[in-house]
């Protein structure tokens, strides 16, 4: 009997369980069928949430309190129709069973998004319109109920691309508490097709605590952390205004440092009735470098973009302020002004050697920048300070990834000018192509190749960011440029024709030093004042247009001296050798030696007659020395057989006359020197 009863009960239990399972399965299936039948309604509800059209492939009910949306797609409407704004493989919505049973209310408790992918880059979301949408979505999620959102492997493109290759991967966990407090942690990883193995190094962790309000968000704490970067900030977004304060360190702090809290945060906390927290303690290492303190940001969201009203910070004791507008309608329009020591009174600021004003004005379209970059600064050349301006008008400037640690920079054309001491110098650079290599976090090296007028230019250099001012060194080769075309940069070359090549080496540490060599080959000097005077004086018209085989010199410019050494001019008419220095106090010193060729002597009846009289003299050479102030130079004809012979020959009155003529000529030549 007992055995029979046990068997019966077992069968009954088995039967009941089977029926129950079947019933549950039927219920689940029915729920799934029911949900799918209500797909359009669910799509409509979600569309209202996201304020964009939402489409779902299939919906599953997942016991006991979850709904899984597969193939969720958010669509964006524009002139060309619908475009996929975002799609997610799997979205799981978990709801409160208690709320559903007790209050017949569908209350979400968890949202899980797996691999959402966006393919559209629309910077207009950074405008007032985008901001309003964002706040709207967030507010719709604030339902006086805890809500946890997990976003896993979200992919956002860095720029519009057919096949996603360069993008950002975001992992995020967001906890929305009942009273609107939001806690969020996560990471952002930049993935570049050129350097996939560096993704881990590019990982940026974030930690956010804040409170969303009807009109924005109060940021209690926003931390960003990477290998060599640690940002600690706080602020608020209220209406159109975004304010942020904080500091950025090159490593995570480990000592004690008290950050100043903005007063408005205290007021807000007081308003919300929260207890005031003690000032944030940040611990800073003594060996940290390139830290940014006193970060202050005030950004206004405007209809077509953002207006940066003030972004100020202190970098290595140098206060910097950024202001300007970025408009996202059509091509992106930029107008940004970056200034160091912005609050210093103008007279002191103009004499501050660390002062600079940088302005970027232009448009970005198809990842290309067209516009103007202008830099005003105080230059110190040969111990003299001068206000200088460098301006580059760029066409089609763009960056492109090349390989591991390398970035390409290219532009079609740049008209670069420099205004120094009221003199304007300019050059035209075409088809510029540079490779920027980031050797480590503190330095980068640059190799470039470009057209320069009708010739070319190539160079290599490096910039070390380890300290301010940055350590810069460059080596540049100028190849076969028509010398005369460079007269816009070097006025002396306006009368020099021929192909110029030059090797230039520049470094700004320990002191500024520019040196190199230049040579001009197969050209002519057209009506150079000095040779014009010689031509008239000795009746040698060929000196007015003096053809030469080669002109060469070595040059050096540093804080103490601007020097031309080993000057040589090799021509059939004459040879010239010498040197010329300008010192920091504007004093010059130089010696030049000029030897007339026999061919030239034969062409001058005046000199031939003179040489017949001066029997002992076979060559005509002028060795002269220069001294004094650059624009008021003294001149001395140094002793030579020719000079001594001539001096003996000339009567005193004629010698004085000749001296006066030469004095006038020298005064005339030097008075026009720049």
């Amino acid at each position: 009997m007992g055995i029979y009863l046990r068997k019966y009960l077992s069968k009954f239990l088995f039967f009941t369980i089977t029926i129950a399972i079947l019933l549950i399965l039927v219920c689940f299936y029915s729920a799934t069928v029911l949900l799918n039948s209500q797909k359009n309604t669910i799509e409509a509800i979600l569309s209202r949430y996201f304020q964009q059209r939402v489409a779902i492939q299939t919906i599953h009910y997942q016991p006991f309190n979850s709904i899984v949306l597969e193939g969720l797609t958010v669509l964006k409407t524009d002139a060309s129709g619908y475009r996929q704004l975002m799609s997610a493989e799997k979205t799981r919505l978990t709801f409160s069973l208690i709320e559903l049973i007790q209050k017949r209310k569908f209350v979400l408790t968890d949202i899980y998004l797996s691999k959402p992918v966006s393919k559209i880059v629309d910077y207009r979301y950074f405008s007032k319109m985008g901001l309003d949408k964002f706040i709207g979505i967030v507010n719709s999620l604030l339902i006086n109920q805890n809500l946890n959102i997990v976003v896993e492997d979200a992919v956002l493109p860095l720029y519009e691309q057919d096949e996603l290759s360069d993008y950002i991967v975001v992992d995020s966990k967001i906890d929305i508490k009942k009273k609107g407090t939001i806690l969020s942690r996560g990471s952002i990883v930049i993935v570049l097709s050129s350097e996939p193995q560096r993704s881990a190094e590019n990982k940026l962790d974030y930690n956010f605590t804040g409170n969303f309000t009807r009109h924005g968000v109060v940021i209690d704490n926003l931390e960003l952390e990477q290998e060599n970067l640690y940002l600690k900030s706080w602020g608020e977004l209220e209406g159109d205004l975004f304010r942020l304060s904080g500091s950025i360190f090159s490593v995570r702090p480990v000592g004690t440092y008290y950050l100043r809290r903005p007063k408005f945060l205290d007021k807000i906390e007081k308003f919300f009735g929260r207890n005031q927290k003690t000032a944030t303690q940040i611990i800073i290492p003594s060996m940290s470098s390139l830290n940014i303190f006193d970060l202050g940001c005030l950004v206004r969201f405007i209809p077509d973009g953002v207006s940066v009203e003030n972004l100020s910070f202190s970098l290595q004791d140098m206060p910097i302020r950024l202001k300007g507008d970025i408009l996202f309608s059509g091509p992106i329009k930029l107008n940004l002004q970056i200034a160091s020591f912005p609050s210093q009174p103008l007279p002191e600021r103009l004499q501050n050697p660390r002062r600079f004003d940088l302005e970027i004005d232009g448009t970005m379209e198809d990842e290309k920048f067209n516009g103007r970059i202008r830099l005003d600064f105080l230059a110190k050349i040969r111990a003299k300070k001068s206000q200088e301006t460098i301006e580059a008008n760029l066409k089609n400037l763009s960056f492109y990834p090349v390989s591991d640690n390398r970035l390409g920079l290219i532009f079609k054309e740049a008209n670069i000018s420099c205004l120094a001491n009221n003199n304007l110098y300019s050059i035209l650079v075409e088809d510029f192509n540079a490779l920027v290599s980031i050797a480590n976090k503190k330095s980068l090296s640059i190799e470039f190749l470009s057209g320069l007028f009708d010739g070319s230019m190539k160079g290599i250099g490096s910039i070390n960011f380890g300290q301010i001012p940055f350590k810069i060194n460059f080596k540049i080769n100028i190849i076969e440029v028509s010398a005369n075309k460079l007269s816009s940069a070097l006025a002396y070359l306006s009368k020099v024709y021929g192909k110029l090549s030059s090797e230039i080496s520049y470094r700004n540490y320990p002191n500024t030093n520019l040196e190199g060599s230049l040579s001009i080959s197969e050209g002519y000097l057209d009506d150079l004042k000095f040779f014009g005077w010689l031509s008239d004086f000795f009746s040698m018209p060929q000196l007015r247009k003096l053809s030469f085989n080669k002109i060469s010199a070595n040059f050096l410019v540093n804080d103490e001296i601007a020097s031309l050494k080993d000057i040589t001019l090799d021509s059939n008419e004459l040879n010239l050798n010498g040197y010329f220095n300008i010192l920091a106090n504007d004093l010059v010193s130089g010696k030049l030696s000029l030897i007339f060729s026999e061919q030239l002597l034969d062409s001058s009846a005046k000199l031939k007659r003179l040489l017949r009289i001066l029997k002992e003299v076979s060559t005509v050479n002028f060795d002269f020395q220069m001294s004094g102030l650059y624009q008021n130079m003294n001149f001395k004809w140094l002793a030579s057989d020719f000079k001594n012979g001539l001096q003996k020959l000339l009567p005193a009155g004629r010698a004085r006359n000749l001296e006066q003529q030469i004095e006038d000529a020298v005064a005339n030549i030097t008075s026009n020197m720049e």
Partner: protein, 175 residues
Amino acid sequence: MKIRSIIILAILLLSLFFARDGYSQDKELYNKATKLARDKQLDFAFSYLDMIVNIYPKSSFFENALFSCGEYYFISGDRSSAKGIFDKFIALLPESKAKPFALTYLLKIAELDQSQDAVDNLQKEIISFKQVSLVFRDFKEYSYLSALNKEYKIVYFIDRAEIYIDGDLFAKIPF
């Protein structure tokens, strides 16, 4: 008629004489000053020169008188007054041939005051006072005789300027 013409001429000459009386006064003061300077009576000479500077600023002797007032103060060791006078001299009389010597006095004062910027600027001003071209000569020189009877000379070589007072080297500026 003849007598009448003579009388008119005499009146004209007399009126001219009296009209030039003011000018003569400064000349007289200047002459007295230079005579006293030759007799080494520099204090008395200065008093007359100072009167010219203060009473006859438009006099043709003003230039020499002003320079020598500065010269006197420098000799007396009153550097501050000397500097004031020479600064005024350069501002009022930038074309004066005594300018390089006034600059040299200011240079000496700046050296004594250890004011390096002023030294550098004054050296440059002295160097640029004359642009010289030495064709058949090794130097050019410019001289000036002051109201205190001192003979100044500046000699420009290609690489230096030398300033002498009464034949003694007072300053040398290499360049």
